[in-house]
Amino acid sequence: MVLKKSILYIIIIILILIWLLPIWTSFLAAFKSPEDFINQKFYELPSEFSLIENFKNVFSIYKLHRHFLNSIIYAVAGGTIAIIAASLAGFSIIRLKPKFNFPLFLIIYSGTLFPFQIFLIPLYKMFNTIGLYDTRIGMILFYSAICIPFSLFVYRGFYTTIPREIEEAARLDGCNSFKLYLHIFVPQSIAPTAVIALFQMTWIWNDLLFGMILTRSRSTRPIMIALASMSGPSGGTIIPYAMAGAIFTSIPTILLFILLRKYFIQGMVLQISNE
């Protein structure tokens, strides 16, 4: 029994180490000066602490902070719009039951059935035609649209778990449909909203493909494109700078997870029990 447990723990520890190694070396690289990085073995500790210097260069040379702001705007605005639209749609589909509510749901949900890449060319053409190419509004619209199907799926599942009697009690108490949504459904949706916010904002934050295709200028391009372009067209990457940039770009998603982890776990349980 003890032997079995020990073996199990050893396997777990090895897996953790394997997983931590690249993260650790990335961190280590971010702390090193470019010279140290070239001259030292990858596992050696830096001879001087260069993180701040690396960050300075990331901001002054690559202007990562500007793109950071773009991505914050896209993640917050896109995620928020998707959350509002999807929760309203989920409420309507489940509780107001308009005609063709299920086909409507399927049509919206079909957005997650196909690989996102198939939207690339049509979107690029459409954005060019209607003047949304290389605009922040265009990016916000795109990100909110792409996040709605999954968000709707989660909200729809969650709203089915709210007992019908609670809705009826609220209606007897004096709620119309909108007040019912606002006072009864929204306050109970913290957990699913946390899941959606975390998943979708992280997705928007990490998106490289659509940002690259649909934007061109520094004022609109999201951060991942800026991070990717740090490697330079001919491969002359300064690894410590790139790693410092990678750490910088990871801050929001890590913060978001720490902030929402309590609700996130509730939400995950909820989602699993729905499926």
Binding site: P163, E165, I166, E168, A169, A170, R171, L172, D173, G174, C175, N176, K179, H183, I184, P187, Q188
Partner: protein, 365 residues
């Protein structure tokens, strides 16, 4: 408070008729219990009165107002649900105050009303708690409180006690009855439990398959059931039914017994011309007694049968006997020594028996 008037009320769900042409007047301050088995239409009726279910046909009046097309919130009613339906994200105070807030009641008034209701229901110390921190009984009190603060014309209660354990149910039964007296309110209460109906109601409406079978005061319904369904549904243990033939001598004869009839029954037989016909006789378990303990027992008022099982209840014993393949229940005094396998001689209190038509199942009067 107000009276509720249901006129030709009908509800259809596609091809199924849930409530069929119901006519009922619920007087002001009356405690009316709609009772019946699952699917009899009692909850549908309540939901139509609440406005949660559309009416297919007929009219509902609350007070003098026709409310068919009035939304639930404007009907001046409050409803207590079986699963309490408390808002999980609000504390007890806000659960009770929510309806008043939506109606823009002044804050001071809300505080007063909620505190008053909390005092009546003895939940003052729970006002800051969330529903998940409450026991079933406490939740039910909050649900009642939410209805009370609204001071509605009519209270609607949909099986409010069925999620509680047996002991708590009995306790809350008394509390709701007390509440009715205290509030002087019109209450329409739905249950499938005939004991609740008997103990709480000032009027019982017994339903089956969407049709009202009988309406009346609990004792009246118990003593004079209209048909076999009502007779069997009201009363616990249920009434016993045996097929008998009315003989020329106006006795009730079965393979196992022949009962002499008293003048009251003779008159019923005469009025309905039952001589020579087969009828169903209904005998309540408490109208059967171990003949050893009844001095007036004689051959013409006893039933002899094999005892299948006995259930000592403490204050009485339920004796199950086999009459011509039908299991009958007798409630006999605890002194009785009857046990399974015995041949029991059961005295029948013939004055209280009921006669029913075998085909229509209606009671002969």
């Amino acid at each position: 408070m107000a009276r509720v008037d249901l006129k030709n009320l009908t509800k259809k769900f596609e091809d199924v008729i849930a409530v069929n042409n119901m006519n009922e007047v619920i007087e002001d301050k009356q405690f009316v219990v709609l009772v019946g088995p699952s699917g009899c239409g009692k909850t549908t009726t309540l939901r139509m009165i609440a406005g949660l279910e559309e009416v297919t046909g007929g009219e509902i009046y609350i007070g003098d107002r026709l409310v068919n097309d009035v939304p639930p919130k404007d009907r001046d009613i409050a409803m207590v649900f079986q699963n309490y339906a408390l808002y999980p994200h609000m504390d007890v105070y806000n659960n009770m105050a929510f309806g008043l807030k939506l109606r823009k009641t002044p804050k001071a008034d809300i505080v007063k009303r909620v505190n008053n209701a909390a005092r009546i229901l003895k939940i003052e110390e729970l006002l800051k708690r969330k529903p998940k921190q409450l026991s079933g009984g406490q939740r039910q009190r909050v649900a009642l409180g939410r209805a009370i603060v609204r001071d509605p014309k009519v209270f609607l209660m949909d099986e409010p006690l069925s999620n509680l354990d047996a002991k708590l149910r009995v306790q809350m039964r008394t509390e709701i009855a007390k509440l009715h007296q205290r509030l002087d309110a019109t209450i329409i209460y739905v249950t499938h439990d005939q004991t609740e109906a008997m103990t709480m109601a000032s009027k019982i409406v017994i339903m089956k398959d969407g049709l009202v079978q009988q309406t009346g005061a609990p004792q009246e319904v118990y003593d004079h059931p209209n048909n076999i369904f009502v007779a069997g549904f009201i009363g616990s243990p249920a009434m016993n039914f045996v097929d008998v033939t009315v003989t020329d001598r106006i006795t009730l004869k079965n393979k196992q017994f022949e009962l002499e009839t008293p003048s009251k029954i003779k008159e019923i037989i005469k009025n309905n011309d039952l001589v020579g016909k087969e009828v169903v006789v209904g005998i309540r378990p408490e109208d059967l007694e171990d003949s050893q303990f009844v001095p007036e027992a004689k051959d013409t008022n006893i039933i002899t049968a094999n005892v299948e099982v006995t259930e000592p209840m403490g204050a009485e014993i339920y004796v199950y006997v086999d009459i011509d393949g039908v299991l009958m229940t007798a409630r006999v005094i605890p002194k009785s020594k009857l046990k399974s396998g015995d041949v029991a001689k059961l005295f029948v209190d013939i004055e209280t028996i009921h006669l029913f038509d075998k085909k229509t199942e209606k009671a002969y009067i």
